[in-house]
Each structure stands twice: as C-alpha cells, then as structure tokens.
Symmetry: C2
Subunit: 335 residues, 2 copies
C-alpha cells in the first residue's frame, strides 16, 4: 500500500498554500480561474483524494449515515437498506449498515459505536430497545428516522415511518369477503410483534366492517417462518375444518399455511384462499403464486433516507409527522 498524497503535498507541488488547494477541492470561490485549473490538473495527476477522517474532524460532519437492522439476512430489511443506499449514493452520502442479529445487546453496542463515529444520522429499523433507552439514544444523534415504532411525543430530530398494517389486513379481509369467503381465519405472528398486533386489529376491523364476528378460535399465533405457519395452520384446520380463507402474518407463514392446506387434502385457492403479507421474492417463486399485500420496501428505504437528509440539512425545521406506508393488495393465485 502506497501512501496517499495529502492536500499539503498538492499545495507544495503547485507552489501555493494548502488553503488554495482546499478551496479548489471544495469548489469554493476565491481562487483565480487559471490557478484553479492548474490545481485541478495536479490533483488528477497526483491522484489526490481528500481524507474524510480529517475532514470529518474539522467539519464535525461525516457525510455518513447508518442503518441499523435486526437481521440483514431477512430480505425485508435488505430491500429497505437498498432503497436507502440508493438515495444516499445519489446525494453523496455513505451508508453504514449494522446488523443487530435480533439481539438487544448488539443493538446497544451498534448504536454506541455509531455515536463514537460521529455519524450524521441513523435509520433505526424496528429497534428492540425499551422506549426510555430509545429516546435517550435518539437524543445523541443529529438525525434519526424510526421505522415501525411509534413515539408518543414527536421530536424535532426524528422522522417516523410506519407500515399501515391495519389497512393492509383490512384490504385482505375485504378481498376474501368480496370473493365469497365467510369463514376466515388468521395465522398471526408472534404475540410480541408490533406490526403483528396491528395486523390483528386490521383483521378484526375488516371482519366488523363486513358484518362478520371475530372468533378467537379462528386465530393462531406462530413463529414468523414457514414451519411455524405450517404447524399453526394444521392445528387451526383441525380445530375449525370449515375455514375457507386464511390471512397469514407474512409470506413465509403463508407458504407454510398453503403447505398445511395441501397436506390436509385441501386445494388452494379452490377450497381455501390464502393471503400473505410483505410480497417478498418468494411470493412469485412458490406455487400457487402468493396473493399478498405488497409493501414497497425500497420506497420505505428511499423515504427514510430522504427524510433523514432533510433533517441533517435543516436541523431547525419543525417536528415531522409520521409517514404511513400503505400496503397494496396484489392478487395472484392463492386467493
């Protein structure tokens, strides 16, 4: 590895002071057009690149924001990260991606290291942190966007983005009812999941709107994976054989639900309709292709990054309202 030239090296080679070079590098006024060109060329020749570390120390800005996700292996978060990175790249920002592996300790450690790196802003995806710690953390950063976590009192340096799970579940129920299904069931996710709870709320609201009643035995919780969906559905079908429609917590669970249906001799969607949630790539790989609630996760990421850059650039703007992302029902083959 060869040592990179510094701004001083360039200045010496050009026979000017380092400030003149600095002005050229940052496209600032106060340099004669002729010297500017000369220095530009020299920079090119010498392969000079500004040292971001030194610049960060001097300006207290790092042109870097971080995104903290519980599990980067989960395409759900990977897609958000992708959208966020696209915007960051456009705007000349860099994106730090941290993975907490669903572990609160690591989340704390990650946030801690981010502070030490003087990051400009943080995108927090579904933080596990208790609310008090969360607010304390937020106050440490210049800008934060919170995904899928609702803060009671909005802060000026945080933007909030949430999935409109209630709406999504309602749309699913509407579709079931419109296609003649009457004996609906819900394979809900983990009891602790915020969005899981919201999806239950939406499901119940949908039933109510259709004049159907919510039967507790027509709901089953499960781990948010295929096998969880399969087992929960098998139990549910044993208990309530006439079920003709299932709303699943997410697409993985939906796939498990379909498997359980098929295992019990039911055909999907003829005997029983299944709707998933999230529209992950898997949805168009399995057969039947999943009818599901599409969430534009790249857009979530883009929005999250845009908002955070806004806050960074106008720190004194008024507190931001929560953004709700509306899921869209995409009708394929399973319902």
């Amino acid at each position: 590895m060869k040592k990179r030239p510094t701004i001083t090296d360039v200045a010496q080679a050009a026979g000017v002071s380092l400030m003149t070079v600095s002005r050229v590098v940052n496209d600032k006024p106060g340099v004669g057009e002729e010297t500017r060109q000369r220095i530009r060329q020299l920079i090119e020749e010498m392969g000079y690149r500004p040292n971001e570390i030194a610049r960060g120390l001097a300006t207290r800005q790092t042109a870097t924001v971080a995104i903290v996700v519980p599990d980067i292996t989960n395409p759900f978060f990977a897609q958000i990260a992708c959208g966020a990175e696209a915007v960051a790249f456009e705007k000349g920002y860099h994106l730090f991606l941290l993975n907490t592996a669903e572990n609160t300790d690591r989340e704390v450690a990650a946030l801690d290291s981010l502070q030490q790196k003087e990051i400009d802003g943080v995108l927090l995806c579904s933080p596990r942190l208790p609310i008090d710690d969360l607010e304390a953390t937020i106050s440490q950063f210049a800008a934060v966007t919170l995904f899928n976590r609702e803060l009671q009192n909005p802060l000026p340096n945080v933007a909030q983005i949430n999935i409109n799970d209630v709406l999504g579940a309602q749309l699913a129920v509407q579709h079931f009812v419109a296609s003649g299904r009457r004996r609906l069931a819900l394979i809900a996710g983990p009891v602790t999941s915020t969005s899981g709870q919201r999806r239950i709320d939406g499901y119940r609201a949908g039933l109510r709107a259709a004049g159907l009643i919510f039967e507790p035995q027509a709901m089953e919780h499960c781990q948010p994976v295929t096998e969880g969906g399969r087992m929960a559905t098998a139990q549910l079908l044993a208990r309530r054989p006439k079920t003709d429609a299932i709303l699943a917590f997410n697409d993985l669970v939906a796939v498990g639900a379909i498997q359980a249906c098929e295992d019990s001799g039911r055909r999907v969607p003829d005997d029983i309709a299944v709707i998933g949630f999230d529209d992950i790539p898997l949805a168009t790989i399995v057969r039947p292709h999943l009818t599901t609630l599409h969430i534009d996760l790249e857009e979530v990421g883009r929005l999250a990054m845009s908002k955070i850059l806004e806050i960074i650039q106008q720190p004194d703007a008024p507190a931001h309202a929560t953004h709700w992302i509306d899921p869209q029902l995409v009708i394929r083959d399973s319902a």
Copy 2:
C-alpha cells in the same frame, strides 16, 4: 442533540492532564490505581466516549473494515456479511456494508469512498472490476480479501477465498450416478459467471470419472433465477426428453427446474432428480425440499474477516494461500 464531552473535559473535571485520561481510556500503564479508578468513574458519570474520528486521524487506524457485495438483497451475500460481522463484532471492529447493485460504476465509487475513509481493510465479494483495475485498487488498501476471484500472482496484503465449485459439481454427479441415473443434464448459469464456469468443469469431470460422456445438448445456460431455470429446463426437456437428472446452477434455478419438470408431467425425484447449489433458506421451503450443495456462507464470512484482521495485525506476514471452501452435498427430497 447535546454535545458530547471530550477527553479534555474529563481531564479538567478530574484535575489531571488529558494524557492521564487517555491512558485510562486505552487501558495503558502509567497511571496510579487510585487515579485510574477515579477517572473511570468520572468517565462513566459524564458519559464520555472517545471520538473515533479523532482517534482515527491520530492513529491512522479506524477499526473499521468494509464488505462490498454486488447485491445485499441476495441472501447469499447477506449470509457472508453476517458471518463477517459476527467476527468483526467479537474483535471490536466495525463493518461497513456497501452494495454495488451489480453495477461496476458503483463498485468503483464504493471503493473510492472507502479509500477516502481510510478503512483498515476491505472484503471484496465477487468484484466486477477488470483485473488491472482490481489490482490497482487492492494496492490502495492495507488489507483485502477477495472472494470468488482468482488472482494470478498473490499479493502480501490480500487473502483469497473461493468456493470449490468443481468439487461441488462432482459430488452432485457422483450422487446421481450412485442412485442409478445415467442421462444427466446441466442447467448452467450465465456464461460470464466464474463459478458457473467452474461448476461446468466439475460437472464434466464428474461425468468423465463415471465413464459418461458430455453431450453439449444436455446443457443449457440461463439467468440465475427461478424463471430462468424453468424456461431453460423446459427447452432442455423438449430437446432431450429422457433426461433423468438435472444439476442446476443454483437453488433458484433448481426450483425453476422442478417446476418445469412438474409442468411436463414428470415427478421429482421419481422420474427426474434435481440437485441445486448453495442451500439457501428457500431450499427447505419449497417442496420437494431441495437436495443441494451446502456452502457454509457464514463460515466464509467469518473466515474472510479473520484473514483480513490477521493481515491488518501482521502486515508483514508472507502472502496467503487461497482458501477453498468445500461444498457439502445435503440430501433431501429432490434427488
């Protein structure tokens, strides 16, 4: 956002020089046990955290390495990233994750920004860069590990990790032959893929070892996605109906292959066996569960990170040999 205390603030509060505090922070000798305790407590109370930017400028080390992947949305790379991050976390390093979106320009931009940030090392996963640019890039970093790309002349600051694709394909062919299949076919990936080429080599070597001959019409290239596998397989089966075993470029392609088989009325694995590659989570979601070549990607990530940290810590060690990761055949239901 409130301003964070600096080491000087702590020193003033403690009534000592900042060097004494610095020694405590870095667990260096030369401080009385009593003052050390006192300062420790003060650090705790004041919530002091060292500023990594300033530290990086002073030490020329950032305790940060980056991993550059073509597509973070692809679980293949996400898993590698996970393993790498786990090791980084253990060792007190931070991991920058950059996504190039399969785009050479963005790869260049990413590498460029990494240089400017004075990153300690970089994990390059399947770089698109032409070999000359690649070598030029590598020389800019203190430490590099290269994944799935072979360098002719090893450099002291780079470790190389490659999947033993040849072995993997051979294992698959062996398994086909051992279970009585004789009319094998290969749904290869994109022609430009390095590992795709190696898998073809292994497939041919496997055939040769079994005394079978390679028929060009028993091979079809395709895009490395499910739909590509489905279409390519449909064509292949039309052309060569008696095929009784298919080795697919990867698991996505394998799923497509299975779909094409079923579409044509063939049962898997009774009429035709299918083996995938990579063992992504999907492999145990679809039915039949995929028999496939498992690659321990987390281990790849862990190894890559370990190697890079070795180089960082012992820059003068001799050049590293290439590590080959051996795939393992996991037999499930599709072959």
